[in-house]
């Protein structure tokens, strides 16, 4: 049976001899190579090094960007169809570290091309499909930084080693279901990898409304078996226990007659809810923790003139008063102290072409109880192969 399946798969994927003269120039970019150059100048009225979101243990890259002129992540992406069976992509992010710079593998995955019936399997390291913005690379974000909810719940962006299965349901409208099994290395996981530490399921629905509007709705749930998760920002703490995260997000886009080149409006909203139950250790004491946190963001970006856009974003987070040892919770920064982090961001950007963008952004940031004002000037340049961006 396995042989027969394989034989069928092979006949399904057997390439045909091209009928007309091929276009060798199209292979000029094989593998497609692209580089993203990003840099910015951040300013804050409060110290960026004491950043915290009261009530949340922060992991991953959820701190503020360094103040002053600096390079942001430079990104290098190689991608190609490996053969008729697989597609492969490698994304390296080079970031400035304390000493010199460090290279991080953001994505290194293979993906099946030839499975029948709308099935796709991705394996390696990749951005999780949990949450719309999570799959979007930083250079394609509409604001210079991630929503507070992504910082608080996903350590800015969840990417991990594992396997992802997706199935596009044969239907007139877009219905996609999928799931991931991840090593659990990345926040909100915290596993040594002996068993898959993180798993999630997602459902994506989408369609058009008339010719000018389109939308996508995402539902996802993630479970992480956290053996040990260290905070990377704020007071040092170690969490162990169960983490359950649910995400609902909506993307809605408007472009007159479906043509976004002159004017368009992008709207995004997401709601996150996480319940965690376990223990928190703050040297030298350990205490129980049982808490629920929620939050989300709303944003709208309007291209009002060719190449010019303006955007507005509102973030809000809330951590319920958790059950546990008050002294430990306070020391770990898990006691919200009656403060709900919130932020209002405005931005405008100018894109001389689709390969370059200059951005100005201001935020009134109440992440901490004391208000902060931040502003940034940013450039994003993309070189090389014409990258395609998902919806």
């Amino acid at each position: 049976m396995r042989h027969a399946l394989l034989a069928c798969a092979l006949t399904l994927t057997a390439p045909l001899v091209a009928e007309a003269g091929g276009v060798p120039a199209a292979n000029g970019f094989n593998p497609a190579l692209s580089a993203i150059l990003m840099g910015n100048d951040w300013g804050y009225t409060r110290s960026s090094t004491t950043y915290a979101l009261p009530g949340f243990q922060l992991g991953g890259e959820s701190g503020l960007a360094a103040e002053g002129l600096s390079l942001a992540e430079s990104e290098l992406t190689l991608s190609a169809n490996v053969d008729p069976t697989f597609y492969g992509q490698l994304t390296l992010a080079v970031a400035t570290a304390d000493e010199g710079s460090e290279v991080e593998i953001e994505e290194a995955y293979g993906e099946t091309l030839a499975l029948p019936g709308g099935l796709g399997v991705r394996f390696g390291r990749f951005f999780s499909a949990l949450g719309y913005l999570n799959e979007v690379h930083a250079h394609a974000w509409d604001f210079a930084d991630a929503p507070l909810a992504y910082r608080a719940f996903l350590g800015q962006q969840l990417f991990d080693d594992g396997v992802q299965v997706r199935w596009v349901v044969p239907a007139d409208g877009f219905v996609e279901v999928g799931g991931e099994l991840l090593r659990g290395r990345a926040f909100p996981g915290g596993s040594d990898g002996s068993t898959p530490g993180t798993g999630d399921l997602f459902l994506h629905l989408g369609g058009d409304v008339g010719v000018s509007q389109s939308w996508r709705l995402g539902l996802a749930h993630l479970r992480a078996n956290v053996e040990a998760r260290e905070s990377t920002v704020g007071p040092p703490s170690l969490f162990a226990g169960d983490s359950n995260l649910s995400v609902v997000d909506l993307v809605w886009k408007w472009a007159p007659h479906g043509d976004p080149s002159l004017r368009n409006l992008l709207f995004q909203a997401a709601y996150f809810r996480r319940a965690e139950d376990g223990t928190v250790a703050v040297n030298p004491v350990t205490g129980a923790y049982d808490g629920t946190q929620q939050g989300g963001y709303l944003q709208a970006v309007y291209q009002f003139w060719p190449r010019l856009r303006a955007g507005l974003r509102y973030d809000h987070l809330r951590a319920d008063d958790p059950d546990g040892d008050p002294a430990v919770l306070t020391a770990a920064g898990l006691d919200p102290g009656g403060h709900d982090p919130a932020r209002v961001t405005v931005m405008t950007d100018f894109s001389p072409s689709e390969f370059s963008r200059l951005r100005l952004q201001y935020a009134a940031d109440r992440s901490r109880p004391e208000p902060d004002h931040s502003w940034v000037v940013q450039y994003i340049l993309s070189l090389g192969a014409h990258g395609a961006h998902a919806f």
């Binding site: 045909l16 003269g21 091929g22 120039a25 029948p116 709308g118 239907a171 877009f174 060719p306 395609a388």
Partner: protein, 375 residues
Amino acid sequence: MNTNRCGRWFAHRAPGSSWLAAVTAALLLVAQPAAAKVEVFACEPEWGALAAELGGDDVAVFTATSAVQDPHHVEARPRLIAKVRQAELLICTGAELEVGWLPLLVRQAHNPRLAVGQAGYLLAADAVETLEKPTQLDRAAGDVHPGGNPHIQTDPRNIARVADALATRLATVDPGRAEAYRARHADFARRWQEALHRWEAQAEGLRGIPVVVHHTSWVYLEQWLGLVQVAALEPKPGVPPSAAHLAAILSGLATRPARLVVRTPYEDPRPSEWLAERAGLPAVVLPFTVGGSPAATNLFSLFDDTLARLLGAVVRDASAAGASRSESCGRLLVRLFDRPPACSPVRRSGSANVAAQPLVATPILGETRLREAIR
């Protein structure tokens, strides 16, 4: 077909083997019912219309973009993913026109029948000779396409070439009805040749007419009709027109006059209307593809309407010049012709030969391109 053969194998074995095989078989059969219409995904309306011409009732065509959308910039929308998922044949322009969205659509839809190199994946540009293939790939030159200018559908001779390739592919993906596709193609090719002769006769007077274009969308039309592109409103392909560039074009028109400003229905009307008003030229919206004007309802009426609009604008321009701007008309014609002509309005009749006077190459417009066009 491969899928059906596999499907039958699974169906035959299913009772005795695992439920998984049965489910897989069901999926394969659902994905490709034997007698159902062939689902065709067309990126642009012209290929959707062509698939409908050649496939008739045997195909169900979904067209991803409309005539008022710039096919360079289309979102890989969820609905398009769902449609690619269902399709058995995909026909797109290629030459990197859809590079920003099509590869992603195909990958996200997980439809191996439409993988590059499969019978279900057809790029129209592979069937024709593309123009303006860059000798140097540098984005400082704008959004250049390594495969050449992709707007091949504005030359009806290219439509005929793509029809040949599409008919072959339809017969490959749906061999059971190959004879029907062959018959429809033969009929279409005959009618197209007749129309082509008619159009070429109608357009005789357009030969050598200098035009300003918004984007370099019309090189194939220009080559076919012998129009001469004297300027493009976009300073570089894909870079929106700037005020400085428009002003430079306007002053350039004093020495290199044009007769028309041409744009597609999806392009920003402001730059071409600005220029048209100041230069006293008609701004013409050509349908560009099927559905681009109320009259362009199929491939035949697309070219009927394109020619009617071009000829109409040339007639109106000449009449207006004759009636109210005889002096400037005289100057224009002195530049256009080697000798001072009698500046009389061109006949307004609907006859094909609109620009009654033959346009002769002049030293002022005597570029290689013009000579080629007029040759």
